[in-house]
Symmetry: D2
Subunit: 414 residues, 4 copies
């Protein structure tokens, strides 16, 4: 492998499309999570998790795209997560009215396209699950919501489309059907675990329905850690094989360890979203994930919430032997800690080797904290009254009722 890391292909040539790459057996590296990363940088509000920073702070969004590209991402997703009209006006959100969904989606496309020019990455327009569906509205209404975003993606001519972060197969299939109207390739990921969607449809059956709806790439994203996501994709793969259907596989897990999650994933963990730090995966955890994903036959390998640029770089470094090149960011990262040979302290230089990092079990530094949590388990899903969304801000009275309902769990001190 060349010692000077470079991007894969000449930047002036026409880029190969997503299906062209996957059909040829290439590994496609996704990017990481924007809302969690930009929340920590100060540009996204936890709670709504909406992407108005594309308009308000484009330089921050642009820089994060640049970092993922440099780390090895072959896909830059437009920062349009939760950028549907209904979400931007949900529970008091000002964005729909003050900025507008169209403006946010357009700005996000512009930024991603501009950065993508700097390397070998495609731009994917993304949609995600909607308050409209959660509130029980019908297929036409939900599809209309998706179509608003799709119009922008078509106008901006993104390379392909991703429907991601769906808890219900019904809504995911509607999203795929809508996106397919554009004629562009469609990838789809659900945020489900091995137990299946929130109405109990198993992963294998979900995958079958999604391919039938028109998706060329199916998999999972978010909600669970790499290990759990791979178990889910494996079930999807088996479901497709049983149905004699073909599709490329994709995984974009959390960068948080979630062995204690139930069916609804990390949202239910008591630590979500402001105390997830001790669960953050290391770069070595990611290398293990990348290898296992590859061995499972997954060729679109990325991350979701918690994945920072160095996590994406770890995917690219683990799979460098298969791909034949390293990402640009590896000019600042020796494989398996080898740059520690430049450290001033001899006992740190002694850590400059794979055997050390591969076998380390990192301590939490938190001796008063447990290693696992009991997730909230309210057992409500689409169809339950508590999940009806509203345009008005949550009232003090509504909050008080929720506080009363909240049972303090295993690792809360009263």
């Amino acid at each position: 492998m060349q010692s000077q890391p470079v991007g894969a292909s000449p930047q002036h040539a026409k880029k190969k499309g997503i299906l062209e790459r996957l059909d040829a057996g290439e590994i496609v590296i996704g990017d990481g999570g924007f809302v969690i990363a930009l929340e920590k940088r100060g540009y996204v509000k936890a709670g709504p998790w909406t992407p108005e920073a594309a308009v308000e702070h484009p330089e921050a969004v642009r820089q994060l795209h640049r970092e993922f590209l440099r780390a090895g991402s072959n896909v830059l997703q437009t920062f349009t997560f939760y950028a549907s009209e209904d979400k931007l006006e949900n529970r008091g959100n000002y964005v729909a009215e003050k900025i507008s969904s169209q403006t946010v989606n357009e700005a996000a496309c512009d930024i991603a396209k501009e950065v993508a020019k700097g390397g070998d990455a495609l731009v994917a327009g993304g949609v995600s699950q909607t308050p409209t569906y959660l509130s029980g509205r019908d297929e036409a209404e939900v599809k209309a919501i998706f179509r608003q975003q799709l119009d922008v993606f078509v106008k901006k001519n993104v390379d392909f489309l991703i429907a991601e972060y769906f808890e219900h197969i019904e809504e995911a299939a509607w999203a795929v059907e809508t996106l397919k109207e554009s004629g562009k390739p469609v990838a789809v990921t659900m945020c489900i675990g091995p137990e299946g969607d929130l109405h109990g449809v198993p992963p294998g059956e979900c995958a079958v329905q999604l391919v039938k709806a028109g998706a060329s790439i199916v998999g999972v994203n978010c909600h669970f850690d790499p290990e759990t996501c791979l178990r889910t994709v494996k079930l999807m793969k088996e479901g497709l094989e049983a149905a004699k259907l073909k599709a490329h596989l994709m995984s974009q897990p959390l960068a948080f360890h979630t062995p204690d999650c139930g069916k609804q994933g990390f949202i239910d963990l008591p630590e979500f979203p402001f105390a997830l730090e001790p669960r953050i995966v290391t770069r070595w955890d990611v290398q293990k994930y990348a290898r296992e994903a590859y061995n499972l036959g997954i060729r679109y390998i990325g991350g979701c919430c918690g994945f920072e640029p160095y996590h994406i770089r770890a995917i690219a470094e683990e799979l460098a032997p298969e791909r034949g090149f390293l990402p640009l960011a590896s000019e600042k990262h020796g494989s398996w800690g080898s740059d520690l040979s430049m450290h001033t302290k001899p006992w740190v230089r002694a850590r400059a080797r794979k055997e050390y990092w591969e076998n380390l079990l990192p301590a939490s530094g938190r001796p008063y904290c447990p290693s696992m949590s009991k997730p909230d388990n309210w057992g409500v899903t689409k169809g339950a009254a508590e999940l009806m969304q509203q345009k008005e801000a949550t009232t003090e009275q509504q909050l008080k009722e929720l506080f009363k309902k909240q049972k303090f769990k295993s690792n809360i001190v009263a």
Copy 2:
């Protein structure tokens, strides 16, 4: 407090100097750690930890400065950590020869000054401990190294100077004496814990020597978690009181929990530097730290390695009642999780309150990992042959000898 968060003072007015602020009893909020944050973003190499990104990737450095400013920092430190000539050529580092120390220091000053214009922040030029001292060279040689960087800071007219990250009081005092030659105010922090410097000088005595050497602000940075750092600063404060000396107090701890560290701090933990994730502090840990620092009489309150923009914002939010305003980044952060009232799931909305986050004991999600580690404890410090630095890259043979010497510790699986 005004609902629309703003920076503290009009940006066109002349900024008050660091001592002017501290003498008036104002709280000064420092910034966070650059080398760890930029390593994760792909621009700094662990091992050497040198700041050539100021030249190579100025947009990445600029963006991080912007984020800290937005999060509430009143001081932007030039990204000149380990930017001394001898460090930039240590163990095979190419920066001294290919770029030059002067170029790096100048670029770092330019970036910090440019960003500082956008808010109420001062620019501080920073120096840190040197390979020259560690290799046993004399006072004149060490001071000459510091003076090279100081010349740039004077030329670029930074607002004040910080000597930071010193393990030995002797070298720290030399640094202060050198920086004082400029006539600018000098702050100094040592990376020591309650046991004192690596030659056994207690924190109280260190503080006394530093004030006598000319420092106006003394404290600690790096190497230990917030709790440990505050215990150390308390000992410094008591030492100064006993000696009837006056100085402002400063703390810039790690954003990693380190209850298991020995005298040399987190460098010795088996997790350093690539598996520290489970130790990262939450924003709530930082609020506790900021309050305790304030109660102890510390008025220059910042962070070091691991402190991301949201950690700095947590300091600014905790001390907003005293200061009367919130940082800009709080427009994207409700106090104590209050924005979760906008979340779609009712059990997450139920977390929108201080009582919840203040009492949560976050799980690690790592049931096969321990909560504490046994640090490496090679017991060598300045004067030991193993600490002699060299211009040549570490050889394979040298590494092999170190690997043999390394005893696998408590949480390494062989």
Copy 3:
């Protein structure tokens, strides 16, 4: 409930038989584990785990029986675990030759019968899995081994019989068939988890085969913690219901937490058998178990390895409302810590209440240890050459080969 705790029934009356009790809906409380308890007291050797103490130290065996009786046990199992001829001569064991299996079995019966006179307890003769089966011998040979012990039980006229600790359904069924030859009621427990027997037969199917073989009471013992055992018994119950078969249910789990076990149970945990201490369940864990077992419809509720007299007492105390009386040992134990009201320290008196103990999450006091282990997973079972037993002591050479084969696992420090 009467304040003076007493045994359930007048001791001079003829005791009701085991099926008489269970058919009447009574709760029958089993006893706890002998080999682990007597190993700690100095009378049983770990490794062989054979019960020659019945001959060598009858006073120690008698005392442990007395304690269980006092704690509430309605069944005293003869201390005949692993007292089959082939086990008493396995791998260098001296007992078969120096004492004889018959002598051990007779002594064990005598002791149990003598102690049982002191309360309302039945005596159950017990057999368990054999080296003969593990070494691949045929049905006739295996049954002949069981029949040797059965002859003693019939001669000594025990009240009923228990076939316990079977990893393979085939051998368990053979044991039941053999014991049924006596005409006495037969209970049978397998040491399996929800994944079923070591050849993959699911628990429900195992239960069906056992009832068909003649067992009146079926369930699980040993190898897994209470929670896991209850899940397994639930599967057995469902299997019986599906097959329209009737049997009483029984559970005698470990008193060790084993959330990390694989199919083969606690034997495979790296801590077995000399470092299981941190896994020992509290009396409150046992009260929870007793309640859940009762709710599941189990009426023969006892324990296995690790269950000390106070754990059995906890079953009896939890179910006192249903039974209407407390065990004798409760004269030295207030419900839910109420006797702490007599403690000299006020903060300990403050712990004299159910709410306190029910909600406590006890710390391990071991901050350098993990909370879970990776079990050994050699994947060999009956049929594998490594499981052939031998009369000769294991040789040094055999041990060395095993040491080499042993891969050091997650929480071993090399």
Copy 4:
């Protein structure tokens, strides 16, 4: 060393006295804790922790003595802990009135003397701290209480005397002075840690006062784990050396890990006394302790609460090379797990070696529990009103006030 383990000396010869042994440099092995062990066996009530079982259930007390003797104890302490008149009538205890202190003390002496005949063990009469002292009564009253027990010990002619479990040096010295009136050798242990007695007298100063009061053997017992106790004895040793005083050293720690304890020891841990299981030390922990105690110069090495017979055996096995013989109970225990060579499963036979057990970090099996607790820290000691004792049972009203005062701590779920 002989392969057939035996007791140390011929049993018909006159036994050597305690000082004769220690003066000759012999190792004397103490016994373990009675109240905790007998509570689990069903004969002692937690809360009062009084030893009326010596009268009510002599066979249970006798058996425990036998087990310790067999495990290697050279001293059998009379089961007279908390057998002072004032304790037996404290807070509603019935023993003083229904049985009498004299009867309990006499019965305890008889049992210990009878069992001691079966091996090479001395009998030590023991007194401990009193409610009278805690309630603030004067020296004469406190000494009168001790003298009541002493009268029995003299009449029963025990071999020597132990004053144990004292939190205040003043009362400990009074105890020693009283016991010295008998002319018998006096040993004394305080239940203090490195921070000293509850009024702040450091361990070194405590030791000096105790030797001056007449003690020939000084040390610590109970309240802290082995590691902490050894640190305390080391401070005592240094105190005696500085004062040029001579005494034999003694340690009888808890068999519970207590790294998180404050000054008052394990009583303050939220787990005391009914959820200490995860803290129980392994036999390997005890071997480490025995070696370190020996290296520190301690020659009276035993245990306190939590020490079961197998823990005492571990002391005897670790120090067998120095002593030249093994205890009787080692006939059922191979050194460092060597008997596992007789196990049926090959992966368990692979554990038959020192390297394995010495390096194992045992998991807790409790992933929802932390590794350390925050102890209660009410900060009251002798002199505080809350510590006044009373003959009447604690009232419901008094309990309710305590419940209110109790702040739920880190690992309690509300």
